[in-house]
């Protein structure tokens, strides 16, 4: 998907097959810790869905519920699936990439091989996609086991989640390549990612936001990811709306990759 995504960019944006080597590297690292990934990948969705979907949902459902009258668990389950993918994408594009660029400088070691700066960018975006896919599949498993999806279309929430992860990971990777410390990330997560997590229609419809904040929600990729996944999971798909949501995510991801091409070159080829 990432490679295809890069192909959609400007001519010459094609990542070389060498970027697969970086994916191999990341999988080699992953091989050491896959059990903990698996464990947290299953326990996190379970804890969230039980506490918020069932626990909090009891009160929400009793007090009129969310618009459309769907159970609160069904309402937030696809949203949390997408949110978790976003979190993973944002995190993986920040600290670990910073390590490779600046702290451990392993990118610099890789650049002494036939690999180029854009292979690093593409390879690590592939890895992030892989990780988001894995987490989302585990989340899907928990959703299905808990009966929190109304439609079999919920499986399509997985690619939506991966696309959302990329829509965050690509611009954040571009940003990471401009940083020399982690103070920028603290601000990014505190004032960017966390508010998005809370206010992008995840837990309540954005119509409940103050009027002046609603357009803001519209331009955030998470809102589109959540809305798309929710419509699929609830089986309430509007083709036009879904297309807009997907197009918005693709646009942000591609813009992020284009920015990353510039910042990676600027940072690593000096």
């Amino acid at each position: 998907m990432t490679v295809a995504g890069l192909r959609l960019g400007r001519p010459g944006a094609i990542a070389s097959r060498r970027s697969l080597r970086i994916l191999e590297h990341d999988l080699l690292v992953f091989r050491r810790g896959w059990h903990s990934y698996l464990l947290s990948g299953l326990s996190q969705p379970f804890l969230y869905l039980v506490s918020m979907g069932i626990g909090l949902g009891l009160y929400v459902n009793r007090n009129g519920g969310v618009p459309g009258g769907v159970p609160y668990l069904d309402y937030i389950a696809p949203a949390l699936l997408v949110t978790q993918a976003m979190m993973a994408g944002a995190f993986e594009a920040a600290y670990p990439i910073m390590g490779k660029i600046h702290w451990d400088k392993t990118y610099h070691a890789a650049l002494n091989t036939p690999l180029g700066a854009l292979d690093l960018l593409a390879g690590d975006l592939m890895w992030i996609s892989f990780r988001a896919t894995l987490l989302s599949l585990l989340f899907l498993l928990v959703i299905v086991l808990m009966g929190a999806a109304a439609s079999p279309l919920v499986v399509l929430a997985v690619p939506v989640a991966v696309l959302t992860a990329l829509a965050f990971a690509a611009p954040i990777m571009a940003f990471t390549a401009t940083q020399t410390g982690d103070s920028g990330f603290n601000a990014l997560f505190r004032f960017g990612i966390t508010p998005l997590f809370l206010f992008s229609g995840t837990f309540f419809p954005i119509e409940r936001l103050p009027l002046f904040l609603q357009p803001l929600a519209w331009i955030t990729p998470l809102y589109h990811g959540v809305a798309a996944a929710r419509s699929l999971s609830l089986g309430q798909v509007e083709p036009a709306g879904l297309t807009i949501h997907i197009a918005a995510l693709v646009a942000v991801a591609l813009a992020g990759m284009a920015a990353g091409r510039v910042t990676f070159r600027r940072r690593l080829v000096v």
């Binding site: 080597r21 080699l28 690292v29 451990d104 610099h108 070691a109 080829v269």
Partner: protein, 366 residues
């Protein structure tokens, strides 16, 4: 051994070596080559601004320049590295050594001038060049998420080796750098010397014909340095071309057949270690240290009067006087005759360090 002494060097101001002097034909090889054996082949006989490409040049630079904004890191340097030789860039911090190495390694674009590596243009054929290069960067850049063995394995993959071939070479290389028993360990707890050895092993995974080493032994203890030198020497024996930067004079004398001294982005001297010593300093150095009593009133003026004419070149430092002379014992005796009573006397063979200091000056470079 017949020694050709360069006369008249004493009057030359420090750090200002003109091009005319640098480009003057070198003394005949054989007469003054003390390093023995191999380094005394005819390849140093560079005329003034040789322009034809030597077909055998592995690296060729003409007017090579690197600028970062308004700062010039490398200012129009010329050099050739022949296959099989050990070539060194010697210079203080900030002289432009690393920038030069990064351009050769094709990871830093050339600002202007010419550069070919294996006869290829780095701007066009970077990946092809890197395929045949081994690089030992100044920082270790090892992967702390992977084991010692895995660090080599994945690096082999970056060079398109199969997993099986990468594993075979990795094991062989761990043996070569004496790290076999640590192969399953994480990288973090390794000592500095072990990490350095691992980086060298990593740089050899693609069986490079040219190895670039940027300050390979900086920060290592003497045992670790000697082990590394031994390994580098063995590589050289196998025909690997070494190109290294260092600011350790002993390292340059140990490893390099030929070297250039860089200072403030330029090459200020070129030759074998022995040639440089013969050309820029005298055979011996007499170090005179004076206690407080000697110069209590006005030491520098007083001393100057006493030591003047003792040798072609004399350098007065705050704590001691360096007398550059062919015969240190004779100069010491002469100093005594003149009534000088230094607290301590040391006669030593001059080294590259003297060359280095005389060419690049004593002031601290940051």
């Amino acid at each position: 051994m017949v020694r050709v002494r360069s006369e008249g060097d004493g009057g030359r101001p420090h750090g200002a070596v003109g091009h005319a002097r640098r480009d003057a034909p070198l003394p005949k090889a054989g007469s003054n080559c003390a390093t023995g054996g191999d380094p005394c082949r005819g390849r140093y006989h560079r005329g003034v601004r040789e322009t034809s490409t030597k077909p055998e040049s592995l690296i060729r630079a003409r007017g090579l320049t690197k600028r970062f904004g308004s700062f010039t890191a490398v200012d129009g340097v010329d050099f050739d590295v022949a296959p099989g030789e050990a070539f060194g860039f010697l210079g203080p911090n900030g002289a432009g050594k690393t920038s030069t190495m990064r351009m050769i390694g094709t990871v830093s674009p050339v600002t202007s001038g010419e550069l070919t590596v294996f006869g290829l243009d780095p701007a066009q054929h970077g990946a092809q060049i890197r395929m045949r290069l081994g690089v030992v960067p100044q920082a270790d850049t090892l992967d702390n998420d992977l084991s010692v063995l895995e660090n080599l394995l994945i690096y082999g993959r970056y060079f398109d080796l199969s997993w099986a071939e990468s594993r075979r070479r990795a094991k062989e290389l761990l043996e070569f750098v004496q790290l076999t028993e640590r192969s399953g360990d994480k990288v973090e707890p390794l000592s500095g010397g072990m990490k350095r050895r691992l980086v060298i092993a990593r740089s050899l995974i693609n069986e490079p014909s040219l190895l670039l080493l940027d300050e390979p032994t900086t920060g290592l203890d003497p045992q670790a340095r000697h082990l590394l030198w031994d390994r580098l020497y063995r590589l050289k024996q196998r025909g690997v071309t070494l190109c290294l930067t260092t600011h350790y004079m002993d390292e340059a004398e140990q490893l390099c057949d030929r070297l250039v001294v860089m200072d403030r982005a330029r090459i200020v001297a070129e030759g074998s270690p022995r040639q440089l010593i013969d050309r820029y300093v005298t055979r011996e150095v007499l170090e005179l240290r004076f206690g407080r009593a000697e110069g209590e009133t006005d030491d520098s003026a007083y001393l100057e009067g006493k030591i003047e004419g003792l040798a072609e070149r004399i350098e007065q430092l705050p704590d001691r006087v360096l007398v550059y002379t062919a015969d240190g014992e004779a100069a010491a005796a002469a100093a005594y005759e003149r009534g000088l009573r230094p607290a301590s006397i040391l006669v030593r063979r001059s080294s590259l360090e003297d060359v280095f200091l005389s060419l690049t000056g004593r002031s601290l470079v940051d």
